[in-house]
Subunit: 357 residues, 2 copies
DNA sequence: ATGAAAGCGCTAACAA
DNA sequence: TTGTTAGCGCTTTCAT
């Protein structure tokens, strides 16, 4: 079917000028604006004949209702505000785009907000509140409890993506980062690795911390020494390069496996291990990442990694959005979705495994 | 299926939160709502003392003006709609995020729209028009002239990013793709390459076509045979793998240099050349990409490529946005920004060069 | 089944 | 300098 505003559908579009309003359509169709409104919103009380006539007229004039005027009355902006400040990791832009795509089918619109780092974030969140979003999705960013409270006060539900704040008035949809880390440690141990190491991402990111804690717990489970930890980096390729060099700087003990807070770090670590350190991967060192971004599968790195169930996470967010929007006083819910170990050539490992088998 | 504007889709949604309005602040501060409005919008006619008092009260109550009620009157939504359907190439998500960041400082808000591909694009653009954006930025997507006309009719300026439509009522900010391609051909020839090849991206993308045409023009300039062209792919890694294999399938002539429509393709071509074909890069084959995404610089690929001046392009878009928003009947302008050849290890080349020296 | 009228929250004349 | 009033474009009673 032709879209309602297809200019090649029906008579020539109205002479260029101001935007066509319900009033214009009403006048041309010989009805009241209330009837136009009813026609546009599928009000069942309208006569079928009138409805089609009005719709046709609207179509011909290229009319579509002003979403914000509508929102002023219905108290629903139809807007989902997404906040993301992670840009070096292609995982999150991809989530933004895919989630946007999905929300479009629910007649919801994405408004995008970003901040460079911590300090101006509250300023951005204030701006964000001005647009009265029906809902806020915060992607892998640390948000102050003050900001969370402000949202609760304005009755704006919040969904955290890959972030979990205990006791907060916000829903969460996360990959089970802790279990993912634990699984990696166990599998590495099972394949005979003895000296584990971990390269952190951003210190304040719970994704990094949870993966690390899970990794350490897993090492403890199987009786290995606590993994060496390289801290102080961010989620970048350069952090991976720097991390692996730092881990190998002391003569002993040298790790035989390194787990990284995300794939980008892992690729940096792998390239530096091979290039600068002259190590064989996985011969001398197994490297494992987290995310499973597209290029992890490329032969150039062939990276063993924990795949975040992106599709399932996005679907879960969409469901949570609907739940939260269509219930009166929704309790925040936390969802943890299991990751899956994707075994490739960068690590000496036996086999894949699920987080929650 | 319910029309895109159906608000009665499903059960009645809960009303969004009760928000503090200008009326509330006015009551508490003992002034009229007009005064509140003046205080919030820095109207110079208001008394300084009143202004601070009102602002304080507003602050205390957590008030911020409803952007859309304001827009209803001022005829300015403050919204920039961005349309992007390219998701496999990390270049564009990065542009979206960075441009958003920049617009925030101009008090403009980004609304994001995507479509999977051509057909449902008009439907998405219809939805997009409902939000009355002050301006539309279309990123590297092909738009129908009908859609462009619809925007012109509703007086919504359009800026095309890396797309140029001759005679269209839309501004353009592009990397000079044609000259970029030409430069690559010339530089390859200068370094002694004789049998050039090109791997296309999506057929309908002008970025791919312009780079190809420039490349062919450059080859002609220096008297080389017309490059072999591999068509029928998209902008993916897999297209690069398939492309290079197809180019090497016939025994003769075999290319000694391949230029790819973007970096992702180039990496696929390079990995397949080395892996599947057992070639040495750049010994047997030089590989050149386009974009200079972050990972092009990673040692794993060390890709020679044409760098798009992303920062300059984004700045240019911001300037164009301001120009278009603050003038009555702005003529669309086209800007072509020169790329720069970044010489790395994937190609036997003499030296870097600028598009417009 | 349709229309008239009352706003949603805000800004912009126009008065005072 | 401030308040009053009239809408922006739309939905939603309440009549008819």
């Amino acid at each position: 079917m032709a879209p309602p505003t297809d200019p090649n559908h029906g008579p020539a579009p109205r002479a260029a000028g101001v935007r066509v309003t319900a009033k214009d359509v009403a006048r041309e169709a010989g009805v009241s604006i209330a009837t136009v409104s009813r026609a546009m919103s599928n009000d069942p009380t309208i006569a079928e004949r009138t409805r089609t006539r009005v719709l046709q007229q609207a179509d011909a004039m290229g009319y579509s209702p002003n979403l914000f005027a509508r929102g002023l009355i219905t108290k629903r902006s139809g807007i989902v505000a997404m906040f993301a400040n992670n840009i070096t990791n292609p995982f999150y832009p991809e989530v933004v785009v895919k989630l946007t795509r999905q929300l479009q089918d629910l007649n919801l619109h994405t408004m995008l907000f970003t901040s460079d780092d911590g300090e101006d974030m509250d300023r951005v969140l204030t701006t964000l509140r001005q647009v009265n979003p029906d809902l806020v999705v915060i992607l892998a960013a640390t948000v102050t409890s003050g900001a969370l409270r402000a949202f609760r006060d304005s009755h704006t539900p919040v969904i955290l993506f890959n972030r979990y704040v205990k006791g907060a008035a916000a829903s969460s949809v996360c990959c089970d980062n802790f279990e993912g880390g634990r699984m990696v440690a166990r599998e590495l141990a099972r394949a005979g690795h003895r000296r584990l190491a971990f390269i952190e991402g951003l210190a304040m990111a719970s994704t990094s911390a949870d993966r690390r804690d899970g990794f350490m717990a897993g090492a403890a489970d199987v009786g290995l020494d606590p993994p060496m930890i390289h801290a102080g980096g961010d989620f970048s390729y350069e952090s991976g390069q720097a991390g692996i060099k730092a881990l190998f700087a002391p003569c002993e003990p040298r790790p035989d496996a390194v787990f990284c807070a995300n794939d980008i770090i892992a690729m940096g670590a792998m390239d530096a291990a091979r290039g600068d350190l002259g190590l064989s991967v996985p011969g001398d060192l197994s490297v494992v990442g987290f995310d499973d971004i597209a290029m992890a599968a490329w032969p150039s790195h062939d990276l063993t990694t924990v795949r975040q169930p992106m599709r399932a996470m996005i679907d879960r967010v969409a469901v949570e959005i609907q739940r939260v929007m269509y219930s009166d006083a929704p309790d925040p819910q936390a969802h943890f979705l299991p990751g899956r170990l994707v075994v490739r050539g960068s690590a000496r490992l036996a086999d894949g495994g699920d987080l929650h088998p």
